[in-house]
């Protein structure tokens, strides 16, 4: 699976969670979601996903990818936050878009390289890897301290204390990452990456032996090829499941101690007549709904519950907002008191 395919295999999830809150979602589930901090509108998330995939594929440069997302934002009626134009909270700013695109692409490429690097031949030739600086930063973070902390946390299992090098199978890689992933990027805008370390050097560093490498190769042969599917279920604790339902509603399915993302949850829920579950008192004629595409249906809840409707409802003191749709487009939003 290429980096672009990995990006597209994720499930687009809309949410008010900020980046710190997203980090509380376990890595297995978070890595299967395509999201952007505090972006509720799934259509916007999908546009970001498509642009990131195009950039990962080499088809779009950053400027073209930014342009596609900006067009989607304007199409969804986005207005830049007054007084905060150009900052990270402005979804149209170059800073925000570059951060989003670069992180998504680097993460997908990091995953794809990790998977490829675990093949039997790759393990035979390069059983270890080294954390190195690959991009300059004005104020570099102290990665040696982070390495020591992560090493202590995992008992230096397969990792060197002297050199930021460890076996590819060492748990230190996940411990090092703020995202909990065993592949780069290990932090936002970190500038750090990985270099493969040849067998000979790994043995000289005392990380493994010839026999150890042979065992790793045998294990790699036995290992199932990792598959990636955005809707794969992960184990969750009961309180974790409740938290997920509370934050993501119908976008996540929690059942039997497992959780998984539900693609296009919003259009499906509206079509199934469960619009009330979406909150905000969404009222849409079922006959009208039958003729609408996912893009329009995705827009409705953000209108009535998320983005623009909440401030309106607050001003109106509650009530019900309903969308008037003509020719597949929302032309009017009506408000009724309870």
């Amino acid at each position: 699976m290429t980096a672009a395919e990995k990006i597209l295999a994720k499930v687009a999830v809309g949410s008010r969670l900020n980046s710190v809150q997203w980090r509380t979602i376990q890595a297995g589930l978070r890595d299967r979601a395509s999201f952007s901090a505090q972006v509720v509108n799934v259509q916007v998330v999908k546009a970001m996903q498509r642009a990131a995939a195009g950039h990962a594929d080499g088809a779009l440069d950053l400027s073209e990818a930014r342009k596609q997302i900006r067009q989607a934002l304007l199409g969804e009626g986005y207005h830049r936050p007054e007084g905060q134009e150009g900052t990270i909270v402005d979804l149209m700013s170059q800073r925000r878009l570059d951060m989003k695109l670069k992180t998504d692409v680097q993460m997908a490429r990091g995953w794809a390289r990790m998977v490829d690097g675990m093949s039997p031949g790759a393990i035979y030739a390069f059983p270890a890897q080294r954390l190195v600086r690959v991009r300059d930063r004005r104020v570099p973070r102290d990665w040696e301290s982070r390495w020591r902390l992560a090493g202590d946390r995992v008992g230096w299992n397969g990792a060197s204390r002297e050199d930021m090098t460890a076996l590819k199978t060492s748990p230190i890689w996940s411990a090092l990452s703020i995202f909990g992933n065993p592949f780069p990027p290990f932090d936002f805008n970190s500038g750090m990456g990985l270099r493969d370390v040849p067998r000979k050097t790994a043995i000289e560093l005392g990380l493994t032996t010839r026999e150890g490498v042979a065992k790793m190769v045998e294990e790699a042969k036995e290992a199932k090829p990792p598959e990636f599917n955005g809707t794969l279920a992960v184990k969750v604790e009961p309180d974790e499941g409740e938290y997920l339902k509370d934050r993501f509603g119908d976008q996540v399915n929690v059942e039997g101690g497992q959780a998984k993302w539900v693609p296009d949850a919003v259009p499906n829920a509206i079509r199934a007549g469960n619009a009330a579950d979406l909150g905000g008192g969404l009222t849409v004629d079922p006959e009208v709904v039958a003729g609408l595409g996912d893009d329009i249906l995705n827009l409705l809840p953000s209108l009535c519950r998320g983005g623009r409707a909440n401030p309106i409802l607050d001003l109106l003191g509650g009530g019900v907002l309903s969308a008037i749709i003509v020719g597949g487009k929302v032309t009017e939003v009506r408000h009724e008191n309870p």
Binding site: D61, R70, R109, A125
Partner: protein
């Protein structure tokens, strides 16, 4: 534009082994060499105009992947422009445009003129009210300048010639050494 390398056993003499794991190791080693080579290039190629680094070659390094395994090593570099740097060629304006725009200021590096338009700034109109074109009569070059400050932001040229640079990729000897080290 992508660069795809297809390295078949016959190109590599008899060094690609018949063993499946070793063949896999050999093709991975070639991929790793290309990635490391591009990453090193990123470190040694500062922006010629002194602009902030775009880390173009590091991005290229991270885009390297194998699409197939086995006895034929197929390595792809999914980064726009790498093939052009390697093979050379002439860059012409896209979509019927009149000129290519080359940034003249550090803060706009990586930003296209179209991103200055009202549309991209989030205004309702699609007016292009920030940049003004200035093309001296008879000159092969023009400029885009800031309408308010008159600062020259982009140099406009009808085309750009890129010379072929075979050092974009490692040499054949380096490929052979990498494979030898991986499998021996």
């Amino acid at each position: 534009m992508r660069l795809k390398l297809k390295i078949k056993p016959e190109d590599m003499g008899d060094i690609i082994p018949p063993d499946e794991v070793l063949a896999d190791a050999a093709s991975y080693a070639m991929m790793e060499l290309v990635a490391r080579h591009l990453s090193d290039r990123n470190g040694s190629h500062a922006n010629r105009r002194g602009f902030p680094r775009s880390d173009y070659w590091q991005d290229a390094s991270e885009s390297v992947h194998r699409s197939h395994r086995g006895k034929t090593a197929e390595i792809e570099i999914d980064k726009e422009g790498v093939a052009l740097h390697y093979e050379g060629g002439t860059v012409l304006p896209k979509n019927g445009g009149r000129a290519l725009a080359i940034p003249l200021a550090a803060e706009i590096y990586g930003k296209r003129p179209s991103e200055w338009s009202g549309f991209n700034r989030g205004d309702e109109s699609d007016s292009d009210d920030v940049l003004q074109m200035f093309w001296p009569k008879g000159s092969p070059h023009g400029f885009l300048k800031d309408r308010d400050s008159s600062e020259l932001l982009y140099l406009l040229v009808p085309r750009a010639n890129i010379h072929a640079d075979k050092t974009v990729l490692p040499t054949e000897d380096e490929f052979i050494d990498a494979v030898r080290e991986a499998i021996l």
